[in-house]
Structures are given as structure tokens and as C-alpha cells.
């Protein structure tokens, strides 16, 4: 199984997203690098609207990820309720 990665800007708007990722992806590895947060996981990584909204206290649209996203590695599956990256092998 290949590793997916997600790089987010190390800014305030990223905090609820990172917290939600930790909750929904217990095996994800979160690493701080200068000005960025790099998150890796085996196979897939999901960011759920409901979890982020609960963390931030305001409704979070998965497309809002564009405001904090730096880069990622994987295929994208995005819908109204989640943003997911994955490898199929």
C-alpha cells in the first residue's frame, strides 16, 4: 500500500482540519515543517465536513480546503461531505 500525503499551511484555519484528520485517521502521521504541516497515511486520508465543523464550531465546506492546501500525493475524491485522497493499489 502506498503512502498518501497532504501538506497544509501552518496557519490558524488549518488547526481544526488537522485535529479532524487526527480523529478520523488514527494512523496518520502529522509532522511540522517550516511554515507547513505534512500529514502522511497509508493508502488513504479523509477529511470529513462534520468533524472539521465540530472542531471549528462553524460549518466547513470541503472545498474550503483550497484555502489552506499546499500540496498532496494521491487521487482525489471530493464531495459535499468529505475530501479524500487515496491510492488504489
Amino acid at each position: 500500500m502506498s503512502t498518501v500525503f497532504l501538506a497544509l499551511q501552518d496557519v490558524d484555519d488549518s488547526r481544526p482540519v488537522v485535529e479532524a484528520i487526527k480523529k478520523d485517521n488514527p494512523s496518520a502521521v502529522v509532522e511540522s515543517q517550516p511554515a507547513m504541516i505534512r500529514i502522511t497515511a497509508e493508502g488513504e486520508l479523509v477529511v470529513k465536513r462534520e468533524t472539521v465543523s465540530n472542531e471549528s464550531g462553524t460549518d466547513w465546506d470541503p472545498q474550503d480546503i483550497h484555502l489552506i492546501l499546499i500540496s498532496f500525493g494521491g487521487n482525489v475524491d471530493e464531495d459535499d461531505d468529505y475530501f479524500k485522497i487515496f491510492w488504489q493499489d
Partner: protein, 507 residues
């Protein structure tokens, strides 16, 4: 009022705005997406996984711009250039503005063209958005760098330089090659190889390094650009997948393009290897480490994913694996020797930097490069700073001077040659030769800087005439960092040893 549509329906309704033409047949309206041999059965199968629609696009891009410009204003108002780690760092920005930003503009033009020429409207809309992104990137980069232009040399004529200066023909010829290809090859070249596999190396670890060196302006435009690249990567991957799924005859064509363009991009990125290892005074990550994370690990995962279509990792991957130990040192050596004719400063690393390089490159730096660099440093300190006065032989394909070594012998320069129509053409490597040999009629026309200079097409005879043609401010834009106006200004502003009272470039 009707309920809001879900994302999938919105995407379908807002991107499928095309129609079957009736005044003219479709293949006359879209004449360019068939001659490359790519067979498309069903354009409707095209889907953007981000399901980005124009309204959402404007909304998010507008928000990103507001954030970015607020940071750039704050950086400028607080004299942010005084908080960078060292003025040597600024040379990485010069190389970026001279070599990379004009590529953003070329990408803008390229995607605008594909946004017209693909038959499928889903692909056209995605290309049009990317075209706008690329225009945004070049604009924000010029805007961000304009602050540095007030205080440092080497920024003022970047667009003029990009079209003329020898080392900038490396990135320029890369994009000229892509923009003169057909639309599908362009998508593999830029959308897939460059965006998906390679921009991560430029916009993630290098930009993180910019932050590490105190440059919040550059990291902001870098990450803001890369957040668009995230969409572009998805588009590039979708383009590849779409071609591979549409017809099995497409597979060998796509494989050949992947092989060609990964190598072309890899050679362009060799400039970034020197930026990361030598131009960042404080380096959070070496080029080799970045290569391992973003190419070997991430690119490897991507190739595993594409294996089910029959796509394989290019044969030359093992050359890259061997070269990651050498690339940045060899490129820095080339730039150092030819700094008299470059609008950047170079220098020999100090002991702390050399020790860092030894630590990061334990198998190669002390053995092959430290003795050479210490010798050059001693020579410079004794007043014999070496500047090459001759023109290098450059590779006909990647246009980099022939300074790379054999993959299995780091003491032997790699040198290949082909003959075409009675003329000899020279190459730095087997993959560059193979690219030429497949399309010699294209690459024999490449604009080669040394040949053009010798033919008298670059201002006349001799280096001074050529540098004048380039519009360099001699003694300010070029030569070693030590002794440059940049160094004098920096020492003055920072009250450092060796500061002399002198003209500060801007008040």
C-alpha cells in the same frame, strides 16, 4: 426557492456547456487534438475530481489573493528583506524570477491554447481555469519580488534575460518544447510530469526553506501558487488516466511522453537542486532528501497507481537515483565558474555549510566536491577568483553545460553524440540523446546560446558585448557575492563587519 444542488450536479451543469457544432463539422472546429494519435471515444468520461466550477473558482481564488497580498504588504511595510537569514539567499529569488516566473506565463499561454483546442468541454474548462491560475502566479511572483528589486541587484530585466541569457535557455527551451507540441503531449509535459511529479520539489521543500530563511513574502506566494498546483496535479493525473482509459493504443504514446517529459523536467529542476543546497543559507532539507520524499516516495506511489494501465517507471530512474548524490554540487560548480556571465551571485560555501553538505551527502561530498570547493575558495581568498572566459558546450536537448558526470563514474564527464543530416549534436546523457534521436527534426532547430554568440547574434564579439546585449549592470548583477554591491549594502544595513559607507541602492 429550489434546494441547492449537490457538488456532483453543480459540476455537471456548470462545466458541460459545449454543443455539437452545425455550421462547421466538429473536427474542423477542433482540428488539433487528433494528429498526435491519441484516440478518444467519449469526452464525457472526463471528470475533474475537485469538481471545481467557475463560481467556486472565483470565490476561492479571490480569498487566496486577499490573504497573499496582505502578507506581501506586511512584509514590505516591515522591511522584511532585513529579516532574511543572509543576503546570499536573495540569489535564489533572482534565479526564480529569471527562470521560473516566465514559465508561469508560458504555462498561462499554453493552457489558454489547450482550453480552446480540446474537443471535450470538461477538459477545456479545466484548462481555462489553469490558464488563469498561471497568470495569477506570474503576477504575484513579480509583485512579491518587486520589493526585493528595490534593494538588490539582479531582478530588473528578468523578462529580457529569460529570452536571451545562456543559463535561462534551460527553462525557456523546456517550455518552448512543450508549447510547440500537440495538446495531449502538452498535458503530459506540463499537466502531468511538471505539475504532478516535479513542482512539489520546487514549491514545497524550497518554499518551506524560504520560510526557514525568514522570507515570509516568498513562502506565501509559493504556497499560494502550490495550492493551485494541487488542482493542476489533479488535472494532469486526470488527463493521463483519461487518455489511458479511452484506448489501449494510447498507452505506448503516453509512456513515451512520460519518459521524455519527466527527464526534461528533471534537468530543469537541477537548477533547484543548487538553489536548495547552496543558495539557502539555512537548509531545512537537502536536495537529496527532497528528491527521496517527493520523487522516489510520492512519484513511486503514483507509478504504482498507473501500473494497472501498463505504465512503467522510466528506465532512467536509476540514473536519477545515482545522480541525487551529485546533482546539486555539479550544478553549483557550473554556476560558480560562469558567474561572470550570469545575473546572479555565487560563492563558495563556508565551513559550516560544507560540514552540513558532508553530513547530508556522506558518500560523495567529502570525496568528490569538498576538495575542489576548498581549493576554489582558497584561490578566491588569494585574489584569484576564477571566472570562465570561454563558452561551454551545452547539451542539445536540455541546454545545460556539459558538466554532469557518468552515472557510474563521478570523475568522468558524460558525453554523447548523434549525427543528423551531416551535423553533429552533443548531449549530456543517454536520455537527452534518446529524446533528440526520436525527433531530430525538432531539436536540430533549438536556439543554442553558445552557437548563437559565436555567430554574432548576441551583441557581437567578446563577453562584454554579449553582457551589454543582455542588459546586465556589470559588476553589480554578475560576479561573486563577495565584493558585490549586494554584500556591501547588506553589511551596511545589518551593521556587520566589513561594512563600508557606500551607496545604498534604494532609500
Amino acid at each position: 426557492m429550489a434546494n441547492k444542488l449537490n457538488m456532483r450536479d453543480r459540476y455537471k451543469l456548470m462545466t458541460r456547456l459545449g454543443w455539437e457544432t452545425s455550421y462547421q463539422p466538429m473536427d474542423k472546429v477542433f482540428p488539433y487534438d487528433s494528429y498526435e494519435g491519441i484516440k478518444i471515444k467519449d469526452w464525457d468520461a472526463w471528470e475533474d475530481p475537485f469538481r471545481m466550477t467557475m463560481d467556486a473558482y472565483w470565490k476561492y481564488q479571490g480569498e487566496k489573493e486577499k490573504k497573499l497580498y496582505a502578507i506581501m504588504d506586511a512584509f514590505s511595510q516591515s522591511n522584511g528583506h532585513l529579516n532574511i537569514s543572509d543576503a546570499r539567499y536573495v540569489n535564489a529569488l533572482k534565479l526564480f524570477l529569471q527562470g521560473v516566473s516566465p514559465l508561469e506565463y508560458q504555462a498561462h499561454r499554453g493552457f489558454a491554447r489547450q482550453g480552446r483546442h480540446f474537443t471535450g468541454e470538461g477538459a477545456r474548462v479545466a484548462c481555462q481555469m489553469q490558464s488563469l491560475d498561471e497568470l495569477r502566479h506570474v503576477q504575484t511572483q513579480i509583485h512579491g519580488m518587486s520589493h526585493f528589486n528595490k534593494y538588490f541587484d539582479g531582478f530588473h530585466d528578468f523578462a529580457h534575460w529569460h529570452d536571451r541569457v545562456w543559463y535561462l535557455s534551460v527553462p525557456k527551451s523546456f517550455f518552448d518544447d512543450a508549447n510547440t507540441a500537440g495538446p495531449f503531449e502538452f498535458m503530459v509535459a506540463i499537466g502531468f510530469s511538471f505539475e504532478y511529479v516535479l513542482t512539489n520539489l520546487l514549491f514545497v521543500p524550497f518554499m518551506s526553506g524560504a520560510a526557514y530563511n525568514g522570507d515570509m513574502s516568498t513562502v506565501s506566494f509559493g504556497f499560494s501558487a502550490q495550492s493551485d498546483e494541487a488542482r493542476h496535479m489533479t488535472l494532469g493525473l486526470e488527463a493521463i488516466r483519461f487518455m489511458l482509459e479511452q484506448h489501449e493504443d494510447n498507452v505506448p504514446i503516453v509512456q513515451r511522453w512520460i519518459d521524455k517529459w519527466l527527464w526534461r523536467g528533471y534537468k530543469v529542476l537541477s537548477l533547484v537542486s543548487a538553489m536548495m543546497d547552496y543558495m539557502l543559507p539555512e537548509s531545512p532539507m537537502s536536495w537529496k532528501e527532497a528528491w527521496e520524499v517527493y520523487f522516489e516516495q510520492n512519484g513511486g506511489a503514483l507509478f504504482n497507481d498507473l501500473a494497472r494501465y501498463g505504465i512503467t517507471v522510466p528506465d532512467y530512474a536509476e540514473i536519477c537515483t545515482k545522480e541525487k548524490e551529485h546533482l546539486s554540487h555539479q550544478v553549483w560548480g557550473i554556476l560558480y565558474n560562469h558567474t561572470a556571465a550570469a545575473a546572479i551571485h555565487t560563492w563558495m560555501p563556508d565551513d559550516a555549510k560544507m560540514n552540513w553538505l558532508s553530513e547530508k551527502y556522506p558518500d560523495t561530498f567529502d570525496k568528490y566536491y569538498r576538495p575542489r570547493f576548498e581549493y576554489w575558495r582558497d584561490q578566491a581568498e588569494n585574489g584569484n577568483r576564477y571566472y570562465s572566459q570561454t563558452l561551454p558546450l551545452v547539451c542539445q536537448t536540455c541546454q545545460i553545460p556539459m558538466g554532469f558526470t557518468e552515472p557510474d563514474d563521478p570523475t568522468q564527464i558524460s558525453y554523447r553524440v548523434s549525427e543528423y543530416n551531416g551535423d553533429k549534436y552533443h548531449f549530456c546523457s543517454d536520455p537527452c540523446k534518446a529524446i533528440f534521436d526520436f525527433e531530430p527534426e525538432k531539436y536540430c532547430h533549438a536556439w543554442m546560446p553558445p552557437q548563437q554568440i559565436f555567430q554574432g547574434n548576441c551583441g557581437g564579439e567578446g563577453l562584454p558585448a554579449v553582457l551589454e546585449h543582455y542588459k546586465f549592470n556589470l559588476g553589480a548583477d554578475n560576479m561573486d557575492y563577495v565584493g558585490s554591491p549586494d554584500e556591501a549594502n547588506w553589511n551596511l544595513w545589518k551593521g556587520l563587519n566589513g561594512s563600508v559607507s557606500g551607496d545604498v541602492k534604494a532609500s
